[in-house]
């Protein structure tokens, strides 16, 4: 069974996952076989004895609806030295994801139908579903709306100028009104650039000691507050990307209580790391927004627990070695996360009993698809097969050199983790590394 290349997915017309523990939406956990033909679930329970096809022993494994990462930078077109659609989707597969949404800050920018079609065509045969996000403004210029309707028709699942904020409140108002009509969310990278300026890490005791220019937490909070007000006024579907501060969590919680149509995500690194990771000028801990304080980290964890934060996404941001192997001020912002997210969340949140596996499924599989209006995978006869198979406590050590991503910029290299994906099934596609 392990003869196949662990870096490649295969096709399987007839497949049976035997004896895994199934954890999905709402259902009670059950231990059962799932048998699949031509990518469609034929049954759940005890597989018929005349079943012919590939059998995989999943005893001791947990099978969940396929993971989905709604915040990924695939860098193609334009920055293929950092990542390509193929290598990024491969990394997603190896990390246990069956789907992802990719950000439009490429070169050229994904701001029209042709670019949306290009992304989809490049990813068409991959086991991981790649859903492009279109830009809010043409060329990310922050001024003119893109042809959002045309892009939605071609398969854009959301709109974002990610990497930059939508600075002009007027543009955000128009974008939210327009996207409400289309039923697609606007995802905003919340940053007041006049407050973050040339900062490289969180502003506070650590930046003072290291002599690095700081990015104050209010550079995020101020923009989140504005976005929430504009979303409330327009009733437009707003999704707030990569929340990093206690202030944002509080503002989003209050807005949700008022009934504002808003969803929000944070990332594994904000849940387990703080600004202290930057010590020694570690450029692999440099990202935007920056790692914050322990107080912020705790607030984010609470936001995940109480549902203020709907999604855990990676903000997978690949860079070359040279982009990062330099003095801190010159180093690129961003870290990769596709191949570590599940292990980090299982080890630091699930095994620490901060969330349970069911909440993990909500935050990393179902909620992102709900927000983007995609079909939800599950365990029901007639549904398309779309699963992630976890070995929930398998010990492993992160080795960036083994990543399928082209990039190595992770702060988690060398971390000892417990639990990882050993397989993904998406339709007739299967990747197995058990």
């Amino acid at each position: 069974m392990n003869s196949q290349n662990q870096n490649k997915a295969a096709k399987e017309s007839s497949l049976c996952l035997k004896g895994g523990r199934l954890v999905g939406a709402g259902d009670k956990d059950q231990q059962a076989d799932i048998w699949i033909r031509d990518g469609v679930i034929q049954g759940i329970g005890e597989a018929p004895c005349d079943f012919k096809g590939r059998n995989i022993d999943c005893r001791g494994k947990i099978i969940i609806p396929g993971l989905f990462d709604m915040h990924v930078h695939l860098r193609e077109p334009g920055f293929e030295d950092k990542e390509t659609i193929q290598s990024g989707a491969d990394a997603a597969m190896a990390g246990g994801f069956t789907g992802l949404a990719c950000m439009p800050n490429t070169q050229p920018v994904i701001d029209n139908r042709a670019q949306i079609e290009f992304i989809r065509r490049q990813a068409r045969d991959h086991i991981v579903d790649v859903h492009p996000i279109g830009a809010v403004s043409k060329g990310l210029n922050g001024k003119e709306l893109t042809e959002m309707g045309d892009m939605a028709g071609a398969g854009a699942v959301a709109f974002s100028d990610d990497g930059k904020p939508v600075e002009r409140s007027g543009l955000l108002k128009n974008a939210l009104e327009y996207s409400r009509m289309l039923g697609r969310p606007v995802i905003d990278h919340c940053e007041d650039l006049t407050l973050s300026e040339s900062g490289g890490m969180n502003e506070g005791a650590e930046s003072t000691r290291l002599g690095l220019k700081g990015i104050p937490s209010i550079s995020e909070d101020v923009m989140v507050a504005r976005d929430l007000l504009v979303a409330e006024y327009t009733d437009g579907p707003l999704h707030i990307a990569h929340v990093s501060t206690a202030g944002s969590v509080r503002l989003i919680r209050e807005a949700k209580a008022r009934g504002v149509k808003v969803t929000a995500e944070t990332c594994p690194h904000y849940l387990v790391l703080t600004e202290e990771a930057v010590r020694e000028y570690n450029t692999r801990a440099k990202m935007k927004p920056p790692l914050r304080t322990e107080k912020d980290r705790k607030a984010l964890v609470q936001g995940i627990q109480d549902g203020t934060l709907d999604v855990i996404a990676t903000d997978h941001a690949p860079h070359t070695i040279d982009d990062k192997d330099t003095e801190f001020d010159s180093a690129a912002f961003g870290i990769i996360g596709l191949e570590t997210a599940l292990g980090v969340i299982l080890t630091r949140l699930v095994q620490e009993k901060i969330i349970d596996i069911r909440q993990l499924v909500e935050k990393m599989s179902l909620n992102p698809r709900r927000i983007l209006g995609l079909d939800l995978p599950g365990f029901k006869k007639g549904l398309k097969a779309n699963f992630t198979v976890l070995d929930p406590e398998k010990p492993w050590v992160v080795n960036a050199n083994e990543f399928l991503s082209r990039a190595r910029n992770t702060p988690f290299n060398g971390w000892k983790l417990n639990g990882k994906a050993v397989g993904v099934v998406n339709g007739t596609g299967i990747w197995w590394n058990g």
Binding site: E203, G204, A205, S207, T208, R209, L210, G211, L212, K213, G214, P216, E280, Y281, D322, D325, T326, E327, F328, D329, S330
Partner: protein, 315 residues
């Protein structure tokens, strides 16, 4: 004693004993500098590259003179940041330097942490001659040597650093070093130029210069850079002088003998008035003299020299 590290990247984390050893050795080198032939063969055969990515006159001259007084072979590599923008990365420069098999790199760079990055990449000893807004350890060492020389002690003294603390590597190194030696350290300046949570470094913040002057034994007056006005952090240098300038009038009101340091270059009439800078309490020129001795001491100790330098005779 020998230094624990083969680099001097900053004073953050350097022990009291090590700072003491550097200062003691510097005092003995100061005697060497007063000899008719102020030169010793200590670093003969050693090669030192002075890698300056930022304009510097006095620090570079001071290091160069220290190196020559120790008989080292020196190379000067000065580059403006524009040539870096043309494409050569710091990493490439470092690889080239490493291939030349040198013993020391003295580095000045506009990015905080750049010498730390260098130190991770090469075998040579790295001396930080100022990195971004982080540290300038030899400046703080010469400041402390000058205070010790003038007041006979450092422990228990009230030292206030005045000016643009936010962008000052001199301030950070002084804070780390002075705290380690047991001084009480204060900072004083416009609120926009005081770094956030600076109290976490163990210093007191004086919002008004009058309060600082009422308590200080030593003032270390920092240069106010004109760029800060453009950056919106200061309304004007005129207002800075009104609120924080060290004037004779302010000094006379205190009735205290306050020793005045300034790392230079001085903006006369902005952060400090000429009659104060050139007055009896100023030790600004002693700082320059001590700078050479301190840098000799640092290079000597990093090269493996032990304890006090007793002199190896004149050549």
């Amino acid at each position: 004693m020998q230094l624990k590290s083969r680099h001097l990247l900053g004073l953050d984390g350097v022990s009291r004993e090590e700072i003491g050893a550097i200062m003691d050795t510097a005092f003995s080198f100061k005697k060497v500098l007063k000899r008719p032939i102020p030169k010793v063969p200590t670093l003969r055969g050693k090669t030192i590259v002075n890698l300056f990515y930022e304009a510097s006159t006095r620090t570079r001259f001071s290091f160069e003179l220290a190196e020559k007084r120790l008989s080292a072979d020196t190379l000067n590599f000065s580059t403006s940041s524009s040539s870096v923008l043309k494409g050569e990365t710091l990493k490439d420069t470092i690889r080239n330097i490493e291939a030349m098999k040198i013993d020391f790199v003295v580095m000045r760079h506009g990015a905080s942490g750049a010498p730390h990055f260098l130190a991770r990449c090469i075998d040579a000893s790295v001396v930080n001659a100022g990195d971004g807004i982080h540290e300038h350890p030899t400046q703080a060492l010469l400041d402390m040597m000058t205070i010790q020389e003038r007041l006979g002690k450092i422990k228990g003294l009230q030292v206030v650093i005045v000016g643009d603390i936010l962008h000052s590597r001199v301030a950070r190194s002084n804070i780390f070093g002075l705290k380690t030696l047991g001084a009480c350290v204060g900072v004083c300046g416009p609120a926009t130029l005081i770094p956030r949570e600076v109290e976490s470094l163990g210093v007191t913040v004086y919002p008004h210069i009058e309060d600082a002057l009422a308590e200080a034994d030593v003032l270390n007056v920092l240069r106010i850079q004109l760029e800060r006005q453009k950056g919106g952090l200061l309304p004007s240098t005129r207002e800075y002088r009104q609120l924080f300038g060290i004037t004779r009038q302010r000094l006379e009101q205190t009735n205290r003998k306050v020793t005045i340091l300034h790392p230079g270059p001085i903006n006369r009439g902005v952060e400090i008035d000429t009659d104060v800078a050139d007055g009896p309490f100023s030790v600004i020129l002693d700082q320059v003299t001590n700078g050479v001795a301190v840098r000799m001491s640092v290079l000597y100790l990093l090269a493996g020299g032990k304890g006090k330098f007793e002199g190896e005779g004149n050549e």
